[in-house]
Amino acid sequence: MKARQIYVPVLAVIVFLALWEALVWVMGWPNYKMASPSDLIPAYEKYWELFLIMGWQTLWRTVVGLLLAVIFGIALGMIMGFSRVMRDALYPLLVGFNAVPKATVVPIVALMFVGAHDFNTVLIAFMISFFPIAVSVSIGLSTLEPEYRDILRSLGASQATIFWKIALPKTLPEFFGALKVAVTLAFIGTNLMEIVSPHGRGLGALFDSGKTNSDYPLMFAVLIALAFLGIVLYYVVVALEKIFAGWADRTA
């Protein structure tokens, strides 16, 4: 990694924070209208322990939900990618399921599994994020040119060999593209549960308590913390992509 790849994004963040600070200062907004970055520092100082604990809760539940989404999404994508019949059967169901706003599902899930807050949060993170993964894997597999299959089939290779040697690696770039979308979605899912049905856990609950106590800088501080976690997880995916699908990058 070149130094430029680190200092350019860092510089961009600093410029963004400076503009934000200046905007609030120029407009003379009170912190209940819009907190400025300098208001956030005391919030972080005061609640740093809570940020660590609840940030961790949000993070692990998001990651677990995402892992489930990856496993289920790949399995579903394989089923739809290899079988036309299953593709025709499952697509309308899948699209319908995805079209239901997850905010409306949260209270239902919360009622269904009362008290199982960790489970519920993971479930919503999973439900909101598996769709792009399933679709990308299914498209990747179903658009495999027949010649790729023929090359191996003419040598007597089994379907499983064709999948491992060709279909799977060929689908990886699409898969990682979808995973980047899914990361963001999974965070939305976790926080939906934490905010709509707060249980005293996760950054969503911290946001909720900021709202209850009219602690506006705390609310903004939570948003920034969420953005930070999102960025971290996104770069984890980018790193994995570089390892497993770096060959697809043509800019080098």
Binding site: E145, E147, Y148, D150, I151, L152, R153, S154, L155, G156, A157, T161, K165, I166, P169, K170, L172, A245, W247, A248, R250
Partner: protein, 264 residues
Amino acid sequence: MENLIEIKAVRHSYRTASGPLPVLDGLELSVPEGGFVAVVGPSGCGKSTLTRLVAGLLIPDHGEVNVHGTRITAPRSNVGMAFQNPVLLEWRTILQNVLLPLEIVPSKLSKAEGEERARRLLALVGLEGFENKRPSELSGGMKQRASLCRALIHSPEVLILDEPFGALDAFTREDLWQIMHRVKAEEPFTGVLITHDLRESIFLADQVVVLSGRPAKTQFVLDIPDTGVRTLDHLYTPEAAAMLNTLRHQIEIAQGRVPAGAAA
């Protein structure tokens, strides 16, 4: 002489929404061991179906496809295929791409021997020094040469080439024709070449088979006399012009533009 590939009275239809679509009807083809047969015919006449039959990827409705006297009923590992689309695996280096068949076919070669053979084949087609490049770093003609090495790595009994040079520019194509002769001299194979290019067919093959329009049958067979080492100059001799003319007339008949009697 014993024929390595024998296709007898093959009939085949594809099932479509509007009923069966006959693609082959009365296909006859025999290729002696070490022979190289080019198959030409109008677009969509079932030439690619023919390659899939020989590879065992497709079993005909009627008739027989025999390789080495054994009737083909399933894919066997003794064929090598190359298509118009080189279908190299982008995540592998050229060397790893060429080695792919050895990972599937049971081979007597050790890993090191296989690699040595792959390097030799790559050198033979002029790709020395490109072993560790990715396919995306190669030109179309180079990819096609690598694809050819992959088709040959496991020393297949039958090499099936389905318009391998069709997407290349004219000069690159002529380069590859000459490379094909070099490869055949070093690594003898029995081959079936599907092509649209009549000059290509008479330059590379020792027999040209013209298929009729759909459903395709064997319409005409032209033997190319053995004139020793062929160079591109051969394509500009009166003999070559006469052969090309004959083939062109046969294609016109196959397309249904000229009645059969008018060809003579």
